[in-house]
């Protein structure tokens, strides 16, 4: 069929009448790095919820590589090749970064395989390599609870990659990070973009400028406009609903 990795067709999600997503249409090519921006409450996280099976669309459908995602459970969707990083880092705090990565890296995730299987040589090397990529080699064997916020963000991105998904969904990866950490994460995502399709949701305009090629603006549950960063920034509608506000938001 097409080389679209993701197609969202007329998706509406209503929570007791409130439409978090409203007739949303969206599509994305394989290999693309797409940034989605939009004010708080625009429906960005809900958008990811629909793709990952956490929320069922009230109407419309989502296709991943041409496959309808409706009524598939979260773990099935994940196994199809979609990885997700949450808005607040969700890593397993009682496990070490190495163990966190190993769980994601595990190729066979059913009960028996997990019970009998041991990490294979290649898997071990993948984990060691990832620890280096995300800069956590020295902290690989302390509980993740002791990591800083930024380190957890990086660890969760690492877990995502360990899954070796085709599509990465990354929700606000630099929230709460220092400028330096933000740049690191940006570079990490750019490296990953060479071999993955990625959707990044972000607020931080500096960061968006660093990584963005194609930007989609979400507003009140629908796509407001789409284009390069410059096009989007000069769009009067966008300026009105979004770019006019971040000063207040950040302050």
């Amino acid at each position: 069929m097409s080389d679209k990795i993701l197609e969202i067709e007329n998706v509406t999600v209503s929570f007791e009448g409130f439409k978090a997503l409203n007739q949303l249409n969206f599509s994305m090519d394989t290999g693309e790095l797409r940034v989605i921006i939009g004010p708080n409450g625009a429906g960005k996280t809900t958008f990811l919820d629909v793709i990952t099976g956490k929320v069922q669309p009230t109407t419309g459908r989502a296709l991943f590589k041409g496959k309808n995602l409706r009524s598939r459970s979260e773990h099935n969707i994940s196994r199809l090749g979609i990885g997700r990083k949450f808005q607040t880092p969700r890593v397993y705090l009682q496990l070490t970064p190495r163990e966190n990565l190993d769980l994601s890296c595990n190729r066979h995730k059913n009960v028996l395989a997990t019970l009998w299987g041991r990490p294979s040589g290649p898997e071990r090397r993948t984990v060691a390599g990832l620890l280096e990529t995300i800069g956590l080699t020295t902290k690989a064997d302390i509980p993740a609870a002791l990591l800083s916020h930024g380190e957890k963000q990086r660890l969760e991105i690492g877990m995502l990659v360990a899954q070796s998904p085709d599509l990465l969904l990354v929700d606000e990866p630099v929230a709460g990070l220092t400028d330096e950490e933000t740049e690191n994460v940006g570079n990490l995502l750019l490296t990953l973009a060479d071999s993955h399709s990625i959707i990044v949701i972000e607020h931080d305009m500096e960061f968006v400028r660093q990584i963005a090629r194609q930007v989609t603006v979400l507003h009140q549950g629908a796509v407001l406009c789409e284009g390069s960063m410059d096009e989007v920034q000069s769009n009067p509608q966008v300026i009105e609903v979004y770019l006019g506000q971040p000063e207040e938001d950040d302050g």
């Binding site: 990952t52 956490k54 969700r90 769980l103 995730k109 019970l115 280096e132 690989a140 916020h149 709460g176």
Partner: protein, 386 residues
């Protein structure tokens, strides 16, 4: 190089394992070989019971300590194991006869589900398989529907009530509240309450505890064990990494129930009775307390907690029989408020620190000043979790 951390770890692990194996082997030998000579018979009997109970505690630790599911209904599985073995003993009578109590209640024919318990091999398998199956079915229904946390606990307690009335109700089937007494029954031609048989039960209890420990140790290490901890930490996150937690939880619940079944069987023959009172609420809560006192999430803690609490219970009941429940409640409060990680947790964490403080040395600090403690981030974490 970056690989030092990776290579250090496998080196440290076998040595630790060797130590653990050594210590456990010594303790097992002391209990199995030495104690029968030194302890007076009646004390040994008590110890045998506690050892049997510790097997159940390991099960509780598996499901609660490691997987984060608080079961308040393990009395069901304990009783199922106990009744299975007791039924077999009740059938050690001449062909065609019925157990005494059935005759008293005018039962003419042995009920169909009693029939297979004539067979010892069947009984042996049944006493852990029946609890495991019941747990698997119950667990599947509950976990598939994503019932968690306090709702799971309430459901297990409700099931406990159902089983309580099932065993108590039809008096001609299980002898109602009186339960099944195994004192005067024969096992392999020997009186079950004889010293000879009791010594065998004692040794069997130790063997079962050892095997259960090895099983739990295996389950909680490696990938499977880490999966359980991850489920406890953030089950929903697991789904987005491609894991379906349902299967894991069902297996662990079933294994945990099987251990309770074995414990119930061994406990029954050592006390000489199984009755619906093991399915009363306080007993299931007591199992949880053993683990809480010892330290959940540590297998040694579960065993230690059971033995210590049970010894305390015995001593206290000898002195003031009516005070046990009162004491039990107090113990629970103390553990929850003062020792949230139990004795083992205290040894591991605060213990060394407090010792150091007493000696006037600074505390060892292992954390980084981290944004993670930021109340805002914490708030968000709580609220975004589903």
């Amino acid at each position: 190089m970056t690989h030092t951390a990776a290579t250090n770890l496998p080196l440290a692990k076998p040595r630790k394992l060797l130590w653990e194996t050594g210590v456990i082997a010594v303790i097992t030998l002391i209990c199995a070989v030495l104690l029968p000579f030194v302890l007076p018979t009646f004390r040994l009997k008590f110890l045998g019971r506690f050892v049997a109970l510790a097997t159940a505690a390991l099960g509780i630790d598996l499901i609660w300590g490691y997987t984060g599911l608080l079961s308040l209904g393990h009395g069901i599985f304990f009783a199922l194991g106990g009744y299975s073995l007791a039924m077999h003993l009740k059938l050690q009578i001449p062909e065609g006869e019925l157990p005494n109590f059935m005759v008293n209640y005018g039962v003419a024919k042995l009920p169909w589900f009693w029939q297979p318990f004539h067979s010892f091999p069947f009984t042996l398998v049944a006493l852990f398989t029946i609890p495991a199956l019941v747990a698997a079915v119950l667990g599947y229904l509950v976990f598939r529907n994503r019932i968690r946390g306090v709702y799971f606990s309430i459901l297990t307690q409700a099931s406990l009530l159902v089983f309580f009335f099932f065993f108590k109700g039809p008096i001609e089937l299980f002898n109602g509240t009186n339960g099944l007494k195994t004192d005067k029954d024969l096992i392999f031609g020997v009186l079950a309450s004889s010293n000879q048989a009791q010594l065998v039960f004692y040794e069997l209890s130790i063997l079962c505890l050892l095997l259960a420990y090895i099983l739990c140790r295996w389950l909680t290490s490696g990938r499977f064990g880490r999966t359980l901890i991850a489920i406890r930490d953030d089950e929903n996150r697991m789904r987005f990494s491609g894991y379906n937690p349902t299967g894991f939880k069902v297996i662990v619940f079933a294994v945990s129930a099987a251990l309770a079944g074995v414990a119930g069987a061994l406990y029954t023959v050592q006390t000489g009775i199984i009755s619906p009172s093991t399915m009363e609420v306080p007993f299931s809560i007591e199992m949880v307390i053993w683990v809480a006192v010892g330290g959940r999430g540590t297998l040694i803690g579960a065993v230690l907690g059971t033995i210590l609490v049970s010894i305390a219970r015995t001593l206290l009941s000898e002195q003031f029989p009516e005070f046990w429940l009162f004491f039990q409640g107090g113990l629970f409060l103390i553990v929850v408020t003062v020792l949230p990680d139990g004795l083992m947790g205290w040894f591991k964490n605060e213990g060394p620190d407090q010792m150091r403080l007493l000696l006037g040395r600074p505390r060892k600090v292992m954390t980084y000043p981290s944004l993670a403690e930021d109340p805002e981030v914490e708030y968000e974490r709580q609220n975004l979790r589903n």
